[in-house]
Amino acid sequence: MKGKIIEIKSDLNTAIKNIIKTLVQKKLFDAVFVPVRIPSRESFAYLLIKDKEILESITPLPPTMPVQGARALKDLTRLGKLNLRILCIMRPCEIRAAVELAKLRQITLQNLTFFSFDCPGVFPTAEYIKSPEKYDQNIIEKIKAWQEDGLRPNCSICVNFSHYNTPADLHIGFYRNHLLIYPVSKNSQKILDILSYRAEDDLTEWENSINTLLKKKKENRSRKFSLLSNQTKGIENLEEFFTGCINCHNCMRVCPICYCRQCFFESPEQSHHEAEEYLARAKEKGGIRFPPERMVFHLGRMNHMALSCVGCGSCEDGCPMDVPVGQIFSFIGNEVQKMFDYLPGKNLEEPIPLLTFKEDELHEYEDTREKK
């Protein structure tokens, strides 16, 4: 594995910023799509930057993720192809969600270039805004030590945090006070040429460190999943798992994959019923909880989007009741993606399983008992 190793002289954000500034100055990109700290200093937002001066204030590595990058990018390319060349600096899960949205025809990837980086995970937004200074310092240490405590629960079980399975153009790794530039796509050669870098340095040491971390995270993940499997087995357990849910649908609104402008669960067909109907249901069940259709919403949403779930955990971050919804979607996503041997966002050419089929498959789900 070959790439370019650069020593970090100040801090990580500045080192990445310098690379971006060079690329914009040399007119390889017309604009940059990157997180910037908002003026109140308590949060971060994606900014489409044309002005070189604003480039000074970017934070390519924010310690929190209030808005999923793919969700932000979707608004940018909603009406189709861009004529400007835009550089997007995003986390691996954000890039995978963007590719998934491209498959769903919600994002146009033409003229977009993606830089990904070794993601140390993010802190829960609600925790971050309480004491930004503490976490700003922490994120740098996190990157150095790769610790998991205090991170978003989904981040500590994420196994696609590095260049694996992420269709970025160029990947930026961190290793022992060095920045590693690893070209992934064919496009990236041009970028390296402009930066006058040659991908000749040996990256094996970094790769080994990533693999060690990956092994640890995979163990975490399978431990967490077997725990979740026990926690949610059976009707009573599942009811208890979602008991705090107030049916606000915020998990759906912050989800990068849930793109429908009218969610089925908010349509009149699904959710507006006459009082008599609710009375009939209450008679049947003994009573019904209001607002109704909470469990149908969660289980139905799993059917609609779990195959594309990238496991970013935005849903859990947005949940006002601290329901571990991100973890359960990650768990069920993993289960159903295995069924079709599919990894969301890995490859643009690979169709979403529900949009394709094989003639001879899944016979175990058909009723075969009565076949002649």
Binding site: S229, T232, K233, G234, I235, L238, E239, T243, F264, F265, Q270, R281, A282, E284, K285, G286, G287, I288, R289, P292, E293, R294, M295, V296, L299, G300, M302, N303, H304, A306, L307, I332, E335, V336, M339, F340, P353, L354, F357, K358, E359, E361, L362, Y365, E366, D367, R369, E370, K372
Partner: protein
């Protein structure tokens, strides 16, 4: 007191619904507690329809369409199979009564088969007892 179970059948207009019609015309026995819903294709059945039926107290749900390869719209039933497999997998993972959902292929000429499948399914559901989701006010 044992009550008769409620079974919802989503039947594809071109095959299974015609098979139900044929079964009736041929005076074959079809369970009286089967409520049929005609859909234009088995792939029209959103998994949420089935969840709605479950949560509102249906004891069994049957989805029936044309045999693979015979779909009126060429490929609809292949997509339906994937969707249903996904739903069954989710129900299996959470252990919420996956056995109460059945996917069958019944062509327009198979009135006999329609009668057999529905009777067998009705018997199976009756033996399985009422849907446990029925008496769960907090699981809606």
């Amino acid at each position: 007191m044992q009550t008769e179970p409620t079974i919802i059948g989503f039947l594809c207009n071109w095959c299974s619904y015609a098979a139900a019609d044929l079964a009736g015309n041929s005076k074959l026995e079809v369970p009286g507690n089967l409520t049929t819903i005609r859909v234009m294709c088995s792939s029209r059945v959103d998994p949420v329809f089935i969840l709605n039926a479950y949560f509102q107290g249906a004891d069994g749900v049957l989805v029936a369409g044309c045999h693979p390869g015979d779909c009126h719209y060429q490929t609809g039933n292949y997509y339906a199979r994937r969707r249903l497999a996904l739903l069954i997998k989710i129900l299996q993972t959470f252990d919420i009564e996956p056995k109460r959902l059945r996917l069958s292929w019944i062509s327009a000429s198979e009135g006999q088969r329609f009668s057999e499948i529905t009777q067998e399914f009705a018997k199976f559901i009756k033996e399985a007892g009422p849907n446990p989701l029925k008496k769960k006010p907090f699981f809606e």
